[in-house]
């Protein structure tokens, strides 16, 4: 029920959250941060926080949220149901980053890489909890990159909070595991209910496997759904190496006016090209030059 | 009119991938 809004428009992404339990406004809380969908070439990336009063951590553990990675999809759904039902005990929030947003960030001129995007999203979610009155005392974060640097960054950003960043934090801290369940369930549902904004007909091909680049089913789906001019549907992360490679071979070359010349593999311009050997032709009148109007010799 | 050069002449599912807006 809580994710119904996400299921209506997964491609739209956005923030989704539970109501803040009253106890979380008055008691010091622990807050866990985790993500789902970093590796796949399809679908959104989901960041989640989960928080509860510190003294109620044991109750959380009793729900069996530890070791979320070992759970099957159906088991995760069940555990998420338990978390939802424990609305008096804990709260959660999600940030769903659509694949097109991820691709745009990674490919824009001022590059915004995946790590920066991840850190910023996590930071925003922690801030969201604080802004909504959660008495956050301790933060536990899962990371794939260097933990020390990230921890220092978050400590600097949130000086009043005790911050712990660890790889595989979902196996170490049950609050992170709970966040992990929220993130994974949300991503699974988003991918399952994906609303293709492209008009691809009634028989949309949803047989995309795990979504990981090394999954043959996913690769086959990508090949089947590569349109030479437009590329892939928005479900695909265009910035992923797998997608870019397929586009290079199966797509039509497209050139943009502002493409970075440093990425052009051709040789630099010869200095001699600036010195004209032939007599200069009379240039067109200003009227035509200003309007980019040229005579036509051939159709 | 596109702000890029597409090196292809032929069919393309324009309506499927693009929405018209005034």
């Amino acid at each position: 029920m809580a994710l119904a809004e996400l299921e209506r428009d997964p491609a739209g992404g956005g923030r989704f959250s539970s109501p803040v339990p009253p106890s979380c406004r008055s008691r010091p809380c622990v807050l866990g941060v985790d993500e789902a969908g970093r590796g796949p070439v399809l679908g959104p990336m989901v960041y989640a926080i989960c928080y509860c009063p510190k003294e109620q951590l044991q109750e959380l553990e009793a729900m069996g949220v530890a070791d979320s990675k070992t759970l099957s999809e159906s088991e995760r759904e069940r555990r998420f149901g338990l978390l939802e039902a424990a609305g008096e005990l804990l709260g959660w929030a999600l940030q769903v980053l659509p694949p097109q947003h991820i691709s745009a960030c990674m490919q824009q001129r001022a590059k915004y890489n995946l790590n920066e995007l991840s850190h910023d999203t996590a930071t925003e979610l922690i801030q969201h909890a604080l802004d909504n009155g959660v008495q956050v005392a301790e933060v536990f974060v899962d990371t794939v990159g260097p933990a020390e640097k990230y921890e220092a960054k978050l400590r600097g950003r949130f000086p009043g909070l005790e911050v712990t960043v660890r790889p595989k934090a979902d196996a170490l801290f049950s609050i992170v595991s709970a966040a992990s369940i929220c993130a994974k369930v949300a991503r699974d549902r988003a991918v399952k209910c994906w609303n293709f904004t492209e008009d691809l007909g009634d028989d949309i091909d949803r047989d995309y496997g795990s979504g990981y680049p090394n999954d043959p089913k996913t690769k086959e789906w990508l090949r089947r759904n590569l349109q030479p001019v437009f590329g892939f549907p928005g479900l695909v992360r265009f910035s992923w190496g797998t997608a870019q490679e397929l586009l290079r071979h199966g797509g039509v070359p497209v050139t943009w006016a502002d493409e970075d010349p440093s990425q052009d593999p051709s040789a630099p311009t010869s200095v001699l090209s600036y010195f004209s050997r032939s007599s200069p032709r009379r240039s067109p009148h200003r009227f035509f030059q200003e309007r980019s109007l040229k005579p036509v010799a051939e159709l | 009119l596109l702000p890029c050069s597409v090196r292809f002449d032929g069919a393309a599912p324009v309506k499927a991938f693009m929405r018209e807006r005034n």
């Binding site: 005579p295 | 702000p3 050069s5």
Partner: protein, 217 residues
């Protein structure tokens, strides 16, 4: 490609009255550069049109459910055929040392087989006297290039162009303004600016030599 995107006046696209009189795109000799340039004769070669392309790099078209690599937008605009005929009259004047000749022997070009159609255009026979002296022997007319008449005709063209520039609010001054520049004073271009600009535009349709004469005139 088998299609192009163009903007043309209705006169250019009127349906032909007979099967063999359809509009035709053809190359003719550009009167300024001497190079092959594309023009259009409408149905029955009543009117001549020049073809210009809005052409910037990195453009393509979506046309319905197709993509077209050629990103040009063609503009078809009416053109006075006398500009092209003038070229041949001047050439004949040089080569034949000022002899009077029938027009259909002057307006001939081995490289451009459609060149004689210029004489079919509406009003050409009547307005040729603006650029040539005429002699009638029996029922036949003979023509010879006249610089004096041509300069007078071109001056009228320049004046008409000045009027059109003013009424269309075209900026003709030598100074360049950003399109976002807002001045508290109204920027007015001088009459000389207009004439210079108009002369430059007309010069796109005549030889460099004639352009210099026109400038002096």
């Amino acid at each position: 490609p088998e299609q192009w995107v163009l903007i043309a006046p209705e006169a250019a696209t009127e349906p032909p009255k007979t099967p063999d009189s359809e509009p035709v795109f053809t190359k003719l000799r550009n009167p300024s550069t001497g190079e092959a340039t594309l023009y259009l004769f409408n149905s029955g070669a009543q009117q001549l049109f020049e073809v210009k392309a809005f052409h910037e790099e990195y453009h393509s078209w979506f046309i319905g459910e197709t993509v077209q690599q050629d990103g040009r937008l063609l503009f078809i605009t009416p053109m006075d055929p006398l500009f092209l005929i003038l070229y041949y009259l001047m050439k004949a004047d040089k080569e034949q040392q000022g002899k009077f000749q029938p027009l259909d022997q002057v307006v001939l070009d081995s490289e451009y087989p459609y060149c004689p159609l210029l004489l079919k255009c509406e009003g050409v026979k009547q307005s040729i006297c603006h650029i040539a002296e005429e002699k009638e022997i029996g029922s036949q007319k003979f023509h010879k290039y006249s610089q004096e008449k041509t300069l007078k005709w071109l001056k009228k063209k320049v004046n008409q162009t000045v009027k059109a520039l003013k009424s269309n609010g075209i900026c003709v001054g030598e100074r360049i303004y950003s399109s976002t520049f807002v001045s508290s004073k109204q920027i007015t271009d001088s009459e000389e600016d207009y004439v210079r600009y108009a002369h430059g535009l007309i010069s796109e349709y005549i030889t460099e030599e004639l352009s210099k004469e026109l400038s002096k005139y």
